[in-house]
Structure formats: C-alpha cells, structure tokens
Symmetry: C3
Subunit: 673 residues, 3 copies
C-alpha cells in the first residue's frame, strides 16, 4: 500500500509533464525552462525514451547531456521525475538479442521501429533493465533535482502478452510453481474437456493460435502470468534503484484504458500511484470515463493522493478522430482529477514533437507555439493550481463501492461467452454513470476486501467471483449492507469453471435467487419490464439479455413483459440479515436504471446530491477544512450550494455559488470529521 510520506519533495500541487529535450537543440532547452517558470511548472518527467542516448551501445554509458539537463532544471527550480527508459530498448539491444523480441499470438515476431518493446521473459532484457536502472540511480540518486523515479512506461501497452519461446518457458515455470503437480494443473484447467490432459510439464505451452478456441483457464493463467512477469520487471528495476536512491518510485498506470495489469497488485509495489488518462474522443461524455479512471487510481492506492502522470492539453493522435479539447476543457479535466484525489497534474508532453508517431499529439507548447489558446490555458492552469496548494493531501470519502476485479475482466473477455453484448467494462460504466449523474462519489473495491465502510456495494457483471469472495459479499449484506448485483455475475470460479449449483449459486443467500438459464437476445432486440417499485414510471426499457430466475426467497420488484422471459421475474430484492441484496437480470437503459437505483438508494440510506446534472461536485476532506470541487460541464451557469471561500478567485461564498458554464470552482468549507 502506498503511504503519504512517500510523496515527492515538492511544494504544492505538482504541475508539469513529460519533457523530451533530446528531440530539440540546446537553445530550445533554455527557452523551455523559462517558459516552465512562466507556467508554474514544478515537475517534469525526463528520460523515459532515452535509453539509446544514455547507453549508446551495450554497457557503454554517456550521461553528459542528462547531467547538463538535470543541472539546468535544478537551477531553475524545476524538480525531476527521472524515468528509466526500459519501455523501449535501443536498436542495439534487439540486434544483440534478437530472441528477446515479442511474438504475437499468431506467431508474428514484433520488430524494432515503433516502441521497441521486448520480451518480459528474456534474460538479456532482465539483465539490461537492471543495468540501466542501476546506472541511473547510481549517478542521479543524490542529484538535488530528482524527487521521484518513474520506472518504464505504461506496462502492458502497446503489447503485454508474449508468445516467444522464452515466454513459453517462463510460463511453464510459473505454472509449476502455482500448481506444483500436473494433476493440479489438469484439474484447474479442466483438461478432460476436448482431450487436453497433460502428462508431461514440457508439453504445456502458451495459449497461442490453435485450430479452435483455446482452453479458457489456460488463457486466464496466461493473463495472470503476463501481469506477474511485467510486475517482476518493475520490481527488478525498483529494487535496483533503491540500492542507490531514496526518492519515491512509481510507474504510470493506464486505469480504465488498459485492463492487462492488475492495478491492485501493482499499487502494492509502487511508492505512489500514478496514472495516465486520455479522453475517448468518440464519447461525448468523456468526463465520465475520466472520473472512473481517477476513482480507480485513488482506490487501488487505498485513498492516498496520486499523480496524474499524463493527460493531454488538447487532442491525442492515436484515435480514429482526435477531437481537440474546447476552451476550459483542459482545466475541467485537470480539476476533475484533482477532485478525485490527484495531487499532481502532469501532461504528455511539454513540447509537441516535430517528428515521429505522435507529432499530432497535443502538448503544453503546441506546434503553434506560445501565442496559442493552449499555451494561455496552460499558464492559467498553473496559476490556478498554485491557488489550490492547501488542497494537497486531503482525502475523498465515498459511501458507495463498485466492485472491480481485473481477473473478472480477463476471464470475461475470452471467447465463446453467451452474448457479445455483455461486457464487464460496459456494465461498470452503466452503474458508475448512474451514480455520477446522481452526484454520488464512488470508490472501487475488490470483492474480497472489507466492505463494511460502504452503505452500498455494486457488482456489475462480476462474471468471475470466487466462493470466498461471494461469502464476503454475503457477510456484507448480512451485516446490513445493500448489495446490487447485475446479470452475468458469480458465474465462474477462479479457474473459469462454472460454480457448482449453477449460475449465481454462491450469492444465493445474499440475493435469494439463482439463475436457471441465460436468455440472450438477438441483435437490436429491446424489451419492456414492468416495475413494481416506487417512482413515477411503471415501465422500464431494456435490451440484450434476460434470464430465467429461480426465486429462493427474494421479492419480485420487476417482471418481464415481453421477450423470452415474459412473465418471469426481472429484478428482485432480498432481505438477508439486516441488509438487502438486489439482483438485476437484464440490461436497463440509463433512465430505467435510475428508477431502480432510487429504491436501492433508499435501502442503503444513500442520497443523490441534488446538484443539477452535469455539475460534477466532489468533496476532498482535509485535516482542517473540506474542499468542494465543482466542475460545470453544462452549457449554462449552475448553482452550487456552499459556504466558505472560493479558492481560485478568493471570493467569499455564502450559501450559493454560481459556477459559470464550462467553469470550475473550489470552495473551502468547514471540516467535516
């Protein structure tokens, strides 16, 4: 678990971005530091893709330029987050170690020329990353500019899984360690199906291309192995740095953008959680995905402040249509991250690259230079963050948890599921979005963790749920909690094997139902559900999925009107112990889910915020004061009920503050214990 005392030694909210001066002549360096000071930049990340410039050939180091750079930054009061460049080994590495190249599932060897990602299992790679990390730490561990270490870059992307010979061997070793015996592996993988029983360890391989769908438990283990391998690479670098340096060490996650690394496990290894986040341009409400990512970053770190290591000042370059941010949007995004616990707001990158694959990615200094909207807003944001210095270290509190288990993602994303319309990510988004619109702040949580602090726990399409975790959820309900479970939850155990007793059986006590049969619908089919709960409507709209429920004590709250389940229970509520378990067996549209959740909130004792929809308000609680951070996504001004001082303007607020259309406000209010 990260601890707050590991925060980098830096004043106030950290502000800055990735800095790649190696792409520019020396004269630009001096212009850069002057502009950084103008913008209030106090932290930059350097060296992330500079391996070839530091270790110019195998074992030969040249620190000249980096010495000069760190000194220059330090002289100008700009702290450094020093990266290890191991996400992209140099051309010489692949030339010297061609077998360290990643191989795809289809057997394509991935060459050099993009980011030069290497096989996590390659001994040569393992040796090389320790060598470069050690060399950097040895040289700069005591450099006064360096306040943090940034290992590698976005583990798991652009590729995670590796099907090279070296990876296959490592996988076999990992399996031997996990299962000890082949009988154990055969049982876990269910190899009696399709005649896959292994009689020799050497016959076990990676789940590469095959004539049909590959054993799902094997693929799930390969996902676990890949995650563990990547983490072992991180740990090797981290420990190499620790031998020479004392600054906190992080690596940048991709929360809610990549699902290949188990961030709960990673958060235990880093000193500080840091995260990269980019809006998905096709989504007109990208701020909701942002909020998910931010809440997840905070949650995996146990609620401690985290670092927004990368986001963009405007458009990115790798999406089909890279929509530019509109005036004020960068500030709204930045403050939304801050509202959800980020105490550092950094960008990729400081200055837009003229060359290479990402030249159309926006930057703090765009191609248009400093006479640009983006630069003006960058300066304004730096100014705003200075005014928010006191917010640093305060915490976000949530009454509601949404379950998020990476293993369930991995399992559910495999082939041959009952319907392509069911997605873990989509269901998480649907429930999160409902809570977001209702102004309710959310933590993410593991199904096996202590949930007693939450009034409400939501399990959206939690396909993989172990018996132990299900028991934990049941105890939570028994003790008075309110649990909402959506369809396609509690289907399989940790080996992707269907639970004994059938679908949802492990939650039968908590929910008072089990599922006799899935009833996936044809493409585009919609159906109607008759609602027996409170609210103004008696009809809900849904699609994609129905189920044939068997009641074991639950009360029917809604019934299918049409479709294959017509006449049967669609939504149920069950009293168990002193709590309640709700089960929603279909995919409701947003309004219908709102109707249902109103009754759920009542059970849980949770209340919507009452803010106008689109006025996003999150409270951070400090030792001496609370901070209501309001982001107005609306096209008109919105009223926020608050009293205190608005920190960005310094204005007193007495009961109501008008947050302008597209604007942000941070109100210091009295401390709530």
């Amino acid at each position: 678990m990260t601890s707050p005392d590991r925060w980098p030694e830096i004043r106030g909210i950290a502000y800055g971005g990735d800095y790649t001066p190696e792409q520019w002549p020396r004269e630009v360096w001096h212009e850069d530091v002057a502009l950084m000071r103008e913008a209030g930049v106090n932290l930059v990340s350097v060296g992330i893709f500079a391996w070839a410039l530091i270790e110019t050939s195998e074992g030969v180091f040249d620190f000249t330029w980096l010495d000069e750079l760190l000194d220059l930054l330090h002289e100008n009061g700009i702290s450094v987050d020093l990266g290890t460049p191991t996400a992209s080994p140099p051309a010489w590495f692949f030339a010297n170690h061609p077998d360290a190249r990643v191989v795809s599932r289809d057997g394509v060897t991935m060459g050099f020329g993009a980011r030069g990602m290497a096989s996590h299992a390659s001994p040569a790679y393992r040796e090389a990353i320790v060598r470069i990390a050690s060399a950097l730490a040895e040289r700069y561990g005591s450099h006064p500019a360096v306040v943090m270490w940034h290992v590698h870059n976005e583990y798991g992307v652009p590729v995670g899984e590796d099907y090279s010979e070296q990876s296959v061997r490592a996988f076999r070793g990992w399996l031997r360690e996990k299962y000890a015996t082949l009988d154990g592996l055969n049982a876990a993988w269910g190899t009696s199906f399709w005649g896959q029983r292994y009689g020799e360890w050497d016959h076990v391989g990676a789940p590469a291309a095959a004539p049909s769908v590959v054993n799902p438990a094997q693929r799930l283990d390969f996902a676990r192995f890949t995650d563990a391998q990547l983490r072992a690479c991180f740990v090797a670098e981290r420990d190499a740095i620790r031998a020479h340096a004392t600054q906190p060490i992080t690596t940048n996650f991709m929360a809610n953008q990549s699902w290949t690394t188990d961030l709960w496990a990673w958060a235990r290894e880093v000193d500080i959680v840091s995260d990269d986040h980019y809006l998905w341009a096709a989504d007109p409400e990208g701020e909701i995905g942002l909020a998910i990512a931010a809440d997840l970053s905070r949650s995996v770190g146990g609620g401690t402040p985290w670092i927004l290591m990368e986001h963009s000042t405007s458009a990115v370059n790798w999406q089909p249509r890279n929509v530019a941010k509109r005036p004020g949007e960068m500030a709204r995004n930045s403050l939304a991250h801050l509202a959800r616990g980020a105490d550092a707001i950094l960008f990729f990158q400081w200055r837009a690259s003229r060359s290479g694959a990402e030249k159309f990615h926006s930057a703090m200094i765009p191609h248009a230079g400093t006479s640009s909207r983006v630069w003006r807003e960058v300066v304004e944001l730096g100014d705003a963050l200075e005014r928010l210095e006191e917010v640093r270290g305060s915490r976000v509190a949530a009454d509601v948890a949404i379950l998020w288990d990476f293993e369930s993602f991995w399992a559910q994303d495999l082939e041959w599921r009952p319907s392509v319309d069911v997605s873990h990510a989509d269901q998480i988004r649907a429930f999160y979005e409902r809570l977001w619109r209702d102004g309710i702040t959310v933590d993410f949580a593991l199904p096996g963790q202590d949930l007693s602090a939450y009034k409400l726990v939501v399990a959206p399409a939690q396909y993989l749920l172990s018996v132990a975790d299900a028991a934990n959820l049941t105890r939570y309900v028994e003790a008075g909690g309110t649990l909402v479970v959506s369809f396609f939850s509690a289907i399989v155990d940790e080996n992707d094997a269907v639970h004994a007793g059938g679908f949802v059986a492990p939650l039968r006590d908590a929910l008072g139902v089990v599922v006799e049969e899935f009833l996936p619908l044809r493409e585009g089919a919609r159906h109607t559900v008759e609602w027996a709960g409170s609210g103004s409507t008696s009809t809900l709209v849904a699609d994609a999925w129905q189920e044939d429920l068997v009641l074991h004590g639950a009360e029917v709250k809604a019934t299918y009107v049409d479709g294959p389940g017509a006449g049967k229970a669609a939504i149920t509520r069950h009293a168990h112990g002193t709590g309640h378990g709700w089960y929603i067996s279909t995919r409701l549209d947003a309004a219908s889910l709102g109707t249902v959740m109103s009754d759920v909130y009542a059970d849980a004792g949770v209340a919507p915020s009452g803010h106008p929809e689109g006025l996003e308000v999150v409270v951070r609680r400090g030792d001496d004061a609370d901070y209501a951070i309001a982001i107005n996504h609306r096209d008109d001004d919105a009223s926020l009920a608050a009293s205190g001082v608005e920190l960005l303007t310094g204005a007193d607020v007495d009961g109501e503050l008008l947050v302008p259309a597209g604007g942000v406000a941070v109100v210091r209010t009295p401390h709530t214990p």
Copy 2:
C-alpha cells in the same frame, strides 16, 4: 450406400447424447445412469475426446476407467456408441510429432490447446489413429454395451485444409494420380493464364497465400484433395475397427453447417449416416435451416433412416448471441428431425461441462441441474420417443429434388466472382424455403443422378455443372420433367473453366436460353420485373443481379422493367421433349418467387400442401402405416386434416386434429403404397 440392416441393435428410437464422464468424479457416474434411465436414454456416445486418458503416452494404454464405464452402462441397459478420439490427439502426440501440426493458408502453425487437430497427411498421425482405433476395437469389439462405432468428430471442422509441408507433398501425389501428366494438370488448371505453367511436378504446391488471387482450379483441387484426405483418415480407422468388430460404423456430419466435406462420397463409406445440427440463433426461422440439414442427411444416405448425433437442448456457446430454446422448441426440433428420417435423437451433451471452451453449451442436465425446465423437457421427450417406436424404419417420399453438389459450393466460394451478393447456399435456402412454406417435401440430389422419380427438379445457382451432368438434366426435361434453373448456373465445368459456348450453354436445349452477359447490380439496388404468368400480381420485386438473356426458343414469362436489363427477358419457360425448363435470371424476393413457383408447380403437377404456413407436416411411410408428423411453429393452434391415431396422446383423430401452438403431433394413418 448405407443399408438399413446396419442399424445399431437397439430398441425403438435411439435417445441420448454425448457422455463425457471423464470430466466428473465417480459418484456422478452413478447419478448419471440413474437419471438416464429416468429420461429414457438408451444410447450414449463415449470416448470422443478421451485419447489422452486411454493412450496416456505413445503406445501406452489404460482402459481401466473405460472398462468400468462400459460395464456400468451395460448393467443399466444403456447402449454405447463408442467413439475413436482422433479428432483431438493428446499433448504428447504434438510434442512427439511437431511437424504433424496443421498450418494455415497464411503460414500460421496451429498449436495445441484447443481441439488438437492434426495434419491429415502426417504419417505419424495416420499411424496413431490406426493404433488407437485398433486398440479400442480389439478391446471392446465384443463388449455387449457397444452397438455402434463413432469415428472421429465432425471431419472438416474446426479446420480442414492444411498447408503444412506434409500436406503439400501429399497434394502433389494426389495430383500425379489424378492427372498422370503435367500436361494434364496444366490444361485442367489453365496455367497459361498468368504464366503459371509447371514444368516439374516438384514445383507444384498448395494454394497458400500469394501476392494475388490464386489459381481457382488449383484451389478447387485442393478442396477435393482435402476432402479425400479426411475421408482416407476415416477409412483407415473404419477398416481398423472392422478387423475386430462387427457393429455399424459412422462419423458425424455437419450437413448444411460446413461445406468442406462431400457428404455424398462420405455417405458411401459409412454404415449409417449421422449428423450434428445446431440452430443458427440469429435466424428467427432456424427451423428451415434445420429442415435443409435433415433432408440433406437423409438424401445423401439414399433415404435410409439416419442418426441425429448431436443437437442442443437449448443454447449453444459459439455464436455471437446464443439464444436459448423456448419451452417446447427442443421437442419441435427433435420431431422435425425425426419427421425427415432420423431414427435417433441425440444431444451434445448429457451433462454440461463445468470447465473448458463449451461450458455455456446447453446439455440434457444443465448447470441448474434436474430442477430445471430443460431437464423436465428432456424427460418428456424421452417419453414421447418411446411412444413413437413404431415410426422407426419408415421412409420419407418426395416429389421434388433440389440439386446439391459440394463441388459447386467449393468452386463458387472462391474469390473474384461477378458479385459478392450471389451465394450458392443463399439460393438453395431461397428455393427450399419457398417449398417449405408451400408444404412440399424435398429431397436433395446430385445433378448427375437418376432424377426420373421427381416431378420437379430445382437447380439454384448451380455454378459448376459438368457437360455430362447438364446432359442428364436435359434428358430429364426431355422425358417430361420440370426443371427450374436460377441465375449463375452452368457457368463452369469441373475445372472451373467457363463452358464453351458461354454461360448456361450446356443447358441451352433444356432451357431455350443462354446468357450473353451478367448484369450484377450495385449494393442495395432493387428492381421490378413484369410478370406475364398467372397469379394475382403482375409485378415481381428482385435485387442483386440481372442478366442479358438470349432466347433460343423459350417463352418469356417475365420482363425487366428497370435496371440495366430493362425491357429484356427476366424469366423464361421452355418446352423441351415432354417437359419444361424454367430459367429465373434474377434474385426474387420470397413473395415473388412464390408467384413464379405457382406456375412451375402447375407444369410439374405438384401441389402445395394447403396446411397453414408454419404448420410443418412431413409424412413418413412405413410398411403397414403412414405417419404424418406435424410441428406447429405458430403462436396459435393449427388444424391438421388427418384421420387415424395420434401416437403421443393415443387419441383417435377423425378428419381433423388441432395441433396446439408450439406443439407437435404424430398421426398414424393408413398406408399409402
């Protein structure tokens, strides 16, 4: 040709399914057999994916569990269809013989981990399948439980074609045998085109990935070769079994679901035809595809009873959206197969697997267990089949044949055809569907076979039609038959070479037309055809395709109103000898095709059944009685004109029987000679 005396020694209609007790502990075995008895199960298929459990390493056999299993089943009166497990060789096989792995067209080597399909050309594989088949037959050839042998599983899926070195060598040998000389091959393949002439046998390869479209005659021969290789594997196993056993031998086809094996040729090699059939969930009228598969299974076996080796009690797991069967649907499906000649109704599988790629495939015992709708219906179906014992052995008679030639499928599916909108399968479905809605029972037939028993023969998009087969069709018309030919028929000969004289030239005498030019339409274009035949409409609706017809004596029955063929003949009728040849040069919608077929029926002396649409009625004729099997797909009750005894209820029927909505009925009526 299969012969009725090869039916397994079993009482009544066979009922049961694939049984994989190797996936379960011993205590479940005993529960299984008890439940089989409850459900009336009298036949189970075992061992199909059990190679690794029987031959635990190369040449080392362990029959203990199988001995125990067969004894247990026998003690409980359940007969066994014993499978050879050769569709999925064990991990040790691939480890010992890595060159036996299948290679895809793009050069990807298909590894172990799914179904471990091996190269049909691998000598090691050929040796191994004979070894295991012999060992099983030697041990169980006299076991009283074993009433049938089930070789391999679904030849041709998940992969058929193999581009490995071994396969290329075998292909070369197959070609030498077929063509004797390179001149013969060069002529057949038309290698003067694009400079492909071969001067050495060793230069001839498989039609793998190439810079452009590969020689179509080469690809057609590779399809033939693949089919022949797979069949040679079957024959090798069959003969190995016959050396030790006398029970009938089958292998399960995939009629109308896979087109890679020539079922007419396969049917000549098996003792009994058996077929697997799964509904295509996206099709709301999946029962029509089912009927095609069933009629094809019956037809390739020459009309003798066949075995429905696999179908599903409810949803499958490998489609995008796996729709569950609704109450009664499993029985309707089962009886529809029986109506079309199946005397065995079996499922994949007995008990749903907890692990592996198909855990979401329904089963006779679903994950929900025996307190489930599915199980209740399984028991009911077993009961119903017992009441139908006397139907066994009766035959289906048809007045109409639709041509079905696998070589035409293979040729038409190759690249660079005039329009992607033209599909052999779609055209077969369109004509079959019309006849199905009109209540007319259909056989499938080869274009070269004796067709004199049929009043009407339909050739839908019979792209590849040899001169000899065209002559056979012409003789059929001459002798009084009615022939309907759709557009894109009789285009190429057996080498995919355009017929001398142009498109449709070989059928010119029969049809009185040839096609001067194809007129494919742009995507989505529809057009109108003026109809000069009888019926209530004078306007037909069509799309996708027109042609520029040249009349050689035919009468114009319809004319293009618009589109590139405007003003020209669209549909013609030609008197030849004492019969008639109809030609339909465009793709009509269902209603328009109905209008045209009414006049065709009149020529042929065929009459629609007059049953309400959606009441599917097929008659099986026995030695002493006929059986009208009625399946009501409608949402309301439907009246069936019949007199006799309804066998499921035992009720007397006097002139009319009301078949309930979604229900089935089987009426014994007096024998029609």
Copy 3:
C-alpha cells in the same frame, strides 16, 4: 520526358488489346486475326504472362510459338507491343530461388500460384529479368511486327513493398546512399522520439510489424525505396532491350488506381506513357475517376499523347460487384480517354479467358462470342477510331492545375493522423469533380514545378509540402496566380516532420493565415458555415473537420456557425503580390464547394464552360485544327455549341450540335493558336 517522336510506327489511333493466344489452340489464332481485321485492330500486346512458355527452364528458351505468332500477326497487318513477362516469373524460378519470394509486413512469405511476383531486391530476379528481356530483344528487335516494347505489368500491384531479407539489405544500402551518415538518418527520421536512435547501420531495418506504430519517416523512406527499386528493375529491362532494339519502350501505369509508384519519376524513364484504367463499379459516376486518371497520365508525360494500354469492354472481375458497362458506355469511356490525350485505345483483353482468376473479366470477344452486344460495339469503336485518325498528335490545354504529389500520398496514408476522415485522394476528387462539373479542363502538377502557365492552382490536402515547394507556390501567387489550398495542407516537410512555425506556416505569406489547431469532428457530425462571398446562398454545409485559424492579413470569406470552431474563420482570401491565396479549412459538400469556387474562378479569370452538366467536353488542339470531343453522360440529348465538321458522321455543324443521350461527338473546329 517523353517525346512525340517516340510514338510506335503505326497508322492512326492505335486500337487493340492484350492478346494471350497461348491460352488457345492454333485454330483459334487464325480466327483471332481475321476478327482483329474485322474490328480494325492494329496493335496487340503479347507475351506479358508468357515467361514459362518462352524460358521453359532456367536459361532454356523456346521461341517457336512466338515466332509463329509474330509472323502471323505481321502477315495480317497487326502490329505488336511486345511484353517482357517479368511480372510473373515461372514456377521454376521460385523453386530455384525460394529466397526471391516477397514477404509481407506481417512476415508472410508470398508463394507461387497467383501472379508470381518476386522480390525486386533479389539478385536472382534482377539477373533473370535482364536475361529474358535481352533474349526477347535480341530475337525480336528487328521483327517487323514489333513496334513497341511493354516491360513488365503494372509495377506496384498486386504487391509493391517487400520485407524479405534481401529487401531489408537493399533498403539499408539505399539509406546509406541517401543519408551518408547515421546522424543524417537519425535527424531525418527523428529517432530521438521513442528512443529509436541508431548507432550502427546494420541495426536499421524495414518498417515491418512492430508492437506499435512504426516511425513514419522510416515508412515514408521505405515507400520511396520501394518505388526506386521497382523503377530500377524497369530501367534494367529497358536498357537490356535498348541494347538490341530501337522501338519505343513503355510500361503500363495504374494512374489514380494505385499510388505506390511515383509516376512523375516513372514518366521520365519511359519513352511513352501508357496507362491501365478500370472503372470503380460502386461509383455511379466512374467517368470522373476515369477523367482524373487520364489527365494524370497526360500530365506526368508533359502533355504528350499517351497510350490507354488497358481498359475493359464491360465488367471487370475483381471488385465486390462487377457492374457491366451499358450500351455505348465503352465508346464513351474510350473517347473520354482520347479527349484527354490518349492516342491509343487498348483493352485487357482480346478474348476472354476460359480459365484462371480473371475468367469473368470482359474482353473484346466475350464468352458469348461475336454474336454479342460487346463484339458489335467493339467493331463500331474500331470504325469510329479510324474516322478520328487526324486527331492523333493534337494536344490538350488547361488553365487550371491541381497539385498531385505521390510523396504526399505516401505520407498521409500512414497511421495516427488527426482524423480517418481526411484523405488526400478524396480531397483531390472533390476539387476535381467540382471543376469537371463546371466544364473546366485540368492538368495535374507538382508543387515544385513552373506553374506560371496556369490561372488557377488547387492544392487539396497537400499534407506533405516542402519549404521549397511552398516557396514556389508563394511566388506563383505573388506573380498574379490564384491558389486554393484546402485544410490539412503544408503540415509536414519531406521527412514527415511538422513545419517549424506550425501548420501551414510555409504558406503563410501566400494565404495570410496559419492554423493554430486542428478541430476534427466526431463521426457523422455536420456543420454550417456562413458564406460572405457572392452567389445565391449564404449558408454552406460541411463536415469532418474544422480548424482554428489565425489570420495574418487574410480576409474572412466564411465563418463557422456551429461546431468547435463556431464564430471563427472558415474560409479566407488573401491578396499577395498580384495574386490571391484562398484557404478552405473544412470539408464542404459539392454544392457548397461550387459556391466558393465561383468566387475563386472570378479571381483567376477562369470561366465554367456553360455546357449542361454531364456533357463532358474537352478540346484537343492540333497544328491545323482543334477538336471538341463531347461525351454525353446524360439520359437526354444535349446541345453543344460548335461549328465545323463532326468527324464520326461527317456531318457539318453550324453553331449547334445535338449530342444524343449516351452518345459522343468529335467536332473539328478552326485552330486556336
């Protein structure tokens, strides 16, 4: 540059096509030449895919059949364009030189069986093509039938790029020659980005499959290298022929159908430009794409007459839906090519092939034979061309140029551009189409060439524009020219590096604007632009893209009403020197572009023709007379204002000629100097 004196020695307009008698028995040869005479065919291309029949094994030649063929053609007065068959090496070549096979980006080795395209870098291939070209030239250099040489076939298709070992080595050599030092390469490619710096030449490879997007400058250089390699192959053959023969030498381009070869550079190497063109069937106005291809073919050759080496009499076979040409369409297509400078109208191919991948490609003699519409029209066209003999050698003059730079295509087609909706080809089509509808004849031009002859120059999405070329355009405006530049122009330099100063900066003086930021729109978004110019409308409709313009002196002609740029300048006009620079920052629909171009025409002093839309009229200017060639694409007759003699009918024209619906006319008018 081609020179008119290199035209083959042949009378009048050349007429004929590809002739592949090797696919037919001898008796057909004699029928062929008789029919050629009937149709007025005077030129056929032979030998293009006949390598295996000429060099039957490595180094062993058999000229018997070709001797016979050339003599037969000569005896019948039919001239020969003799092909070198190097686009498809024989089977023996690949068997003897397996390492000469092309490898795809994903590492798939492309085998024999289609067109046997070989690696351009293979020494064995280079040696073999020189050997066969020399042998042919030595034997037939003095044959009286041979009037032209046709090297290879359609360089760049079906494959251009090759990732084989041999190609990688050659690429490295090409780079060393281009950059001399690794520092030069590292700078040009911007290898500091993503840590791609090279320290050894041997580490540099081809831009094959990699974990993420590969360096775009590397890919751009690989495209240049591929083009250069293919051209080197051509030059090797050309020079081998020249050692023995004096006839002009060509190779057939694929203008506006393939973009992989830089036709400006190729045109400098051939004696005569020749081009293949096929309609894109899905486009209901394929004649516009045809006109682009024809104008480009003329333009790359500097305006000299060119050869339409291949087009089709009716449908092709390789598109999804191969629409047949309607009566008269083949003549319209042929005359449209002639109108735009083609003095030879040839087809692929003379007689439809019975076998192979292209058997459904139309031909001069279709499968239906000579009693067919196609054949009748072929004979009519031959007759028409004879009447147009005097047109030969006349020239097309244009006042307007559209820029066309293959390097910009290559660069813009790479990954990770701001929006997938922006395409160089689409923007060229949009502007060309506008000019075509307005009846304005267009040349294509390089941005760096002398443009002073043009009143108007259009730069559609000219993404890659070097500083030098931008300066050339600026001088053009300064000197009084009118320049129209669309969005996404002048973004990067020749290394795909963003211009210093930002987007469009090199054209700032000419246009009076730069672009601060791109504003790509979400899929399907449309927006409105308020137009301040002349014309009947004040509102324009646009989609896909907006920009944030910064004015540097330009006048605002239109403003964004909605979308992210609302209120900002959308279209500008700038006076520079004595000319004007227009900038259009969004994608206008066709009508809106028409409104804008009206004002542009006024600036340029260019006038729409006033012909009814769909009556395509192009004037060819001869030494003694001009020729107005009119093609009526309309469904009704159209009036052409002209005086002179209509050459096809011989009729006098006095002020007006009615061109019939679907018809063509060629009017000889007095010479305009």
